[in-house]
């Protein structure tokens, strides 16, 4: 899985020109999805496309996948801590690579907490969590002007349940693209 991701990233970085078309790629990806649900993929059109077009489509899909991964992969924290675990640092390295490959991307880092603490202190803790990730990305060479932070404290839990599993999930930074 990990290796595959790196392959995808490498591919993404080989075709930076395509990156300007990310919004187009996003649209086409969405269209394919819907057609797949309703009707089987039309085979004759794929036969007509040239090898180059195929590769371009593949690259776009890969770019889209990388983008989704950037947005969907959160980093997690220990209770009452804004310290980046080795795992969180690895995730941030991948995010830095994507940001380097996508120099126009602007990011909002949202810090979140589990609800065992108290609301006010958690607003502060959430901000420190977001700022930790921001500082790490800046150290990896990402311009600070591309990275803003916001804290939601314990107000926007991913998992509303009240158990260890939910708490662990809710102590996170989430990465939104502007």
């Amino acid at each position: 899985m990990q290796k595959k991701l790196w392959l995808v990233l490498a591919l993404v970085m080989l075709v930076p020109g395509l990156m300007l078309m990310t919004s187009c790629a996003q649209k086409s990806a969405v269209e394919t999805d819907t057609t797949q649900k309703t009707t089987p993929p039309p085979e004759d059109t794929s036969q007509k496309t040239s090898e180059a077009e195929l590769q371009a489509a593949e690259a776009m899909r890969a770019a889209e996948q990388a983008r989704n991964q950037f947005v969907n992969e959160h980093i997690y924290f220990s209770f009452d801590s804004a310290e980046l675990s080795p795992m969180a640092q690895e995730t941030l390295k991948r995010k830095a690579a994507w940001l380097k490959a996508n120099p126009d991307a602007m990011v909002i880092i949202a810090g979140n907490c589990d609800d065992r603490g108290t609301n006010e202190y958690n607003l502060a803790l959430g901000e420190r969590r977001a700022e930790s990730a921001r500082a790490y990305l800046v150290d990896l060479g990402i311009s600070g002007s591309r990275l803003s932070t916001i804290s939601y404290g314990e107000e926007r839990p991913l998992d509303p349940r009240n158990n260890e599993e939910a708490w662990a999930k809710n102590r996170n930074d989430q990465f939104q693209l502007k």
Partner: protein, 450 residues
């Protein structure tokens, strides 16, 4: 006395006449007692009030007033209101004034205090004659006559309750205060305001987003709070009654507002002072702002989180939460000397400090085993006293304006609700139930009676 009673009055204004001149009270003014409901509640008899005019409406008004007075006084936790079934005398038959009372009939059932009432009722007005008796001394200690519109009945009863509490404790109580809190019933966190006893809750904010940390100005006319209508945690200062307000939107956090007590009361926001946590400078520090949000100066200087300021009643110190020791603890800063002292040492997570209006104690939420409980700590180095035990998550303590009670939130029944208890931890009960969950209560100062 009759001539006083017949004096023409403004019906729109609540009128008060002292019925009996204050003959030496049983508890002299310099002998106010601190009532500790943990040790003893005062046995109080409130027999049915006497209708002083003809008709069903007078009898209903009398019954209602007696019931409301019993509820209001028992809310304080100070009293043990004796069961009506035990009463040997019915003042509706025998009379409600000093001369008519056979005190032995009350002392023998254990009553130390007795309240009698008489209620006149006309089409649009109500008059109440209310008396407090010290049954052991065998005399009347408070006698008042109130006159007002029918809809003033609740205020009249609360005013008399306030007299009773003042007579006993030397403090005016909290019967003219409100409680602001956060409720999720609309699908968003919004601030609601109810009367101190949970009566008449009304939605106050309509931000349609996260709204947190209501804080009352010293005159009870303004509320500061954090909200995200612009998808940023900004501070808002909004008038309690008028559509006026200010936005405080620095970069980063704008959270945990706390109004500084005023040496010279002023109703101008430019004169009022607000402490709040801002992080625009890169670190979370507490700043002093005007009521409109202009920064006056920074109050804390330490790397990490400094949040949740709460002022001493004289405005010379404030307590706050800092993680400078590695986990959140309560600290006190003296503004004159600049000195900062750590207050809490027990446990690894102590937040939400709230300074008692009497000045001698501080309430806070302390976490043990993943759950918060309410603690009260003095400044004499003694260990804190835990007021809630094994009842879910208990958070956000806030003192009543007289320091006799604490409102807080608890998940003891599952969903988070607003609860009250006495400052000694007794008489814990739910204040109200609304759709969704309720949290973050803040008790208002007493509003001025008119």
């Amino acid at each position: 006395m009759l001539s006083i009673m017949r004096r023409p009055v403004l019906w729109s204004v609540l009128l008060l006449i002292v019925l009996s001149s204050a003959t030496t009270p049983a508890w002299a003014v310099d002998e106010f007692i601190e009532i500790n409901p943990f040790l003893k509640k005062i046995p109080l008899a409130i027999p049915d009030f006497k209708p002083l005019s003809e008709g069903e409406s007078a009898r209903e008004a009398a019954d209602q007033a007696a019931r409301l007075l019993a509820e209001t006084l028992s809310f304080t936790g100070y009293f043990n209101i004796l069961d009506k079934g035990a009463y040997l005398e019915d003042p509706r038959e025998t009379g409600i004034s000093d001369a008519a009372i056979n005190y032995r009939n009350w002392t023998v059932i254990g009553a130390e205090l007795l309240i009698t009432g008489g209620v006149y009722r006309s089409a649009d007005a109500v008059e109440m004659e209310l008396r407090l008796f010290d049954t052991f001394q065998g005399k009347s200690v408070i006698g008042k006559r109130y006159r007002g519109r029918v809809e003033d009945s609740r205020r009249i009863v609360r005013k008399f309750a306030s007299e009773v509490i003042y007579f006993l404790t030397g403090s005016r109580g909290f019967f003219n205060s409100e409680i602001a809190f956060v409720s999720t019933g609309t699908g968003n966190k919004e601030i609601f305001i109810a009367e101190f006893d949970g009566h008449n809750p009304v939605q106050f904010t309509h931000t349609k987003d996260i709204t947190l940390s209501p804080a009352w100005s010293p005159d009870g006319q303004w509320l500061a709070y954090t909200a995200y209508p612009k998808n940023r945690p900004f501070l808002y200062v909004k008038h309690r009654y008028h559509k006026r307000g200010y936005e405080i939107g620095n970069k980063g956090l704008n959270i945990t507002p706390a109004w500084m007590p005023q040496a010279k009361p002023s109703s101008s926001l430019d004169d009022m002072r607000l402490a709040a946590t801002l992080s625009f400078a890169g670190d979370q520090e507490i700043y002093l702002l005007t009521g409109k949000g202009k920064i006056i100066k920074r109050l804390t200087k330490s790397w990490g989180s400094d949040v949740s300021p709460t002022w001493s009643p004289d405005g010379k110190k404030f307590a706050f939460v800092s993680n400078r020791s590695g986990n959140p603890q309560v600290y006190i800063k003296d503004l004159d000397t600049g000195r900062v002292d750590r207050l809490t040492f027990q446990g690894r997570y102590n937040t939400q400090p709230n300074w008692s209006p009497k000045g001698d104690k501080l309430a806070y939420a302390g976490m043990e085993g993943g759950r918060n409980d309410i603690y009260v700590i003095s400044f004499n180095g003694r260990p804190p006293v835990q007021l809630t035990h094994d009842t879910g998550n208990n958070e956000s303590p806030s003192w009543s304006p007289d320091g006799s009670m604490i409102v807080f939130s608890s998940t003891r029944e599952g969903a988070s609700r607003i609860y009250v208890m006495t400052a000694f931890g007794t008489d814990q009960r739910k204040l109200l139930t609304l759709p969704g969950e309720q949290m973050n209560p803040q008790w208002s100062p007493n509003k001025h009676l008119n």
